[in-house]
C-alpha cells in the first residue's frame, strides 16, 4: 500500500453526508405539495384562459362581422315586380344574383309581401 492512501474499507461509497435525521421531511413534503397544487392551478387557469380566448375569438368574428355588416353592408338593392325579384348584393361593387340564384329564367309564380325569396321557377 502506498503511503497516504486510504484503504477502500474506510471509504463510505457515498459522496454525500450521512442523513442526520434532523431534516424536517414533513415540511419539505408539504412545500412540494403546495408547489404541485399551485402548478396544477396555473395549468387549469391556462386551459380556462385558452378556451375562453378561443370562444371569445369565435364570438368576436360573429360580432365584428355583424357590426361591419351594419356599418358598411355593401350596396344592396331590392326591386320587386309581379314576377321577378332582383337582388344585388355587393362586397364593394358587384355580385349580382337575379331571380332564383343562378336561374336566368323569369319566375312565374308571383310572390306577395316583401320577401325576396320566391319559390318555384319554370
Amino acid at each position: 500500500m502506498k503511503p497516504n492512501s486510504t484503504p477502500l474499507s474506510k471509504v463510505s461509497g457515498c459522496s454525500q453526508g450521512r442523513f442526520s435525521g434532523r431534516v424536517n421531511t414533513g415540511a419539505m413534503n408539504g412545500n412540494t405539495q403546495d408547489r404541485i397544487r399551485a402548478r396544477d392551478a396555473a395549468f387549469r387557469l391556462l386551459n380556462r384562459l385558452t378556451t375562453g380566448a378561443a370562444v371569445g375569438a369565435l364570438a368576436g368574428v360573429g360580432v365584428f362581422g355583424a357590426v361591419s355588416a351594419s356599418t358598411i353592408p355593401g350596396i344592396t338593392t331590392t326591386s320587386q315586380s309581379a314576377s321577378t325579384t332582383t337582388s344585388t348584393s355587393t362586397s364593394t361593387g358587384t355580385s349580382t344574383s337575379t331571380g332564383l340564384g343562378s336561374s336566368s329564367t323569369p319566375v312565374n309564380s308571383a310572390s306577395s309581401g316583401s320577401g325576396v325569396v320566391v319559390s318555384g321557377g319554370t
Binding site: A38, R39, A41, A42, L45, L46, L49, T50, A53, A54, A57, G60, V61, G62, V63, F64, G65, A66, V67, S68, A69, T71, I72, P73, G74, T76, S89, T90, S91, T92, G93, T94, S95
Partner: protein, 195 residues
C-alpha cells in the same frame, strides 16, 4: 354561402386576428421581461403566448380563406402566398401576405426551436416586431372598415397596448437573473485569456 357573408366573415376574422396578434405580442414582451405574480407563474405567460399565437394562425387562415374564395375580388390562392401578386389593392394585400408569412415563419421556428437552436429561433422571433406593424398597416390600407368607429377604436387600443409594452420593455431593461454572474464570469475569463 353568400358572398356578402364571406365578406363579413373576412372583416370580422381580420379584426379578431389583429386583437389576437396584439395579445400575442404583449404576452411575448411580458414573458421576455419574466413577469410573474402570486398565482401567475411565468410559464402561464409563456403558455398563453404560445396558445394564442397558434389561435391567431387559425383565425388568420379563416380571414385569408374567406377573402380568397369571395367571388367579388377574384384574389386567387397565389395572392395568399406571393406578395403583391394581386390585381386587387395590390400594395395593401401584399403587406398582408408578408405579415402572414412572417408570422408563419415565427410560429414554425418556435415549434422547431429544439432543432434549429436558440440563436436562430431568437433571430427569426425578432421579425415579430416587423410582422405586427405590417399587419396593422395592411388593415388600415385594405380594410373597408378602417374609418369605422369600432375598428378605429380596436386599432387604437391595439397600437397603444403594443407601444406601452415595448416602452415597458425598453425602460425595464433586462430582468435576466443570470446577467450579472454571466458578466462577471465573462470578465474573469477575458482577464485569464489576456494573462
Amino acid at each position: 354561402m353568400s358572398d356578402t357573408l364571406l365578406w363579413y366573415t373576412t372583416r370580422g376574422a381580420g379584426a379578431v386576428s389583429l386583437v389576437l396578434l396584439t395579445a400575442v405580442i404583449v404576452l411575448g414582451i411580458l414573458s421576455a421581461l419574466r413577469v410573474q405574480a402570486a398565482g401567475w407563474p411565468r410559464f402561464l405567460t409563456t403558455g398563453l403566448h404560445r396558445n394564442l399565437a397558434l389561435m391567431t394562425l387559425v383565425f388568420l387562415a379563416l380571414h385569408i380563406v374567406t377573402a380568397v374564395v369571395d367571388p367579388f375580388t377574384h384574389l386567387g390562392w397565389l395572392t395568399a402566398v406571393v406578395p403583391f401578386s394581386s390585381s386587387y389593392r395590390t400594395f395593401w394585400l401584399g403587406l398582408g401576405t408578408i405579415a402572414f408569412e412572417l408570422l408563419l415563419a415565427i410560429v414554425v421556428t418556435s415549434l422547431a426551436r429544439g432543432y434549429i437552436g436558440h440563436a436562430a429561433w431568437r433571430l427569426v422571433h425578432w421579425f415579430t416586431y416587423a410582422s405586427w406593424p405590417i399587419a396593422v398597416i395592411h388593415g388600415i390600407g385594405t380594410g373597408t372598415d378602417t374609418w369605422s368607429a369600432w375598428l378605429l377604436a380596436i386599432t387604437v387600443i391595439c397600437v397603444v397596448a403594443v407601444v406601452a409594452a415595448i416602452g415597458f420593455r425598453v425602460t425595464a431593461g433586462s430582468r435576466d437573473p443570470l446577467k450579472e454572474p454571466r458578466t462577471t464570469f465573462q470578465a474573469a475569463a477575458q482577464r485569464r485569456e489576456t494573462r
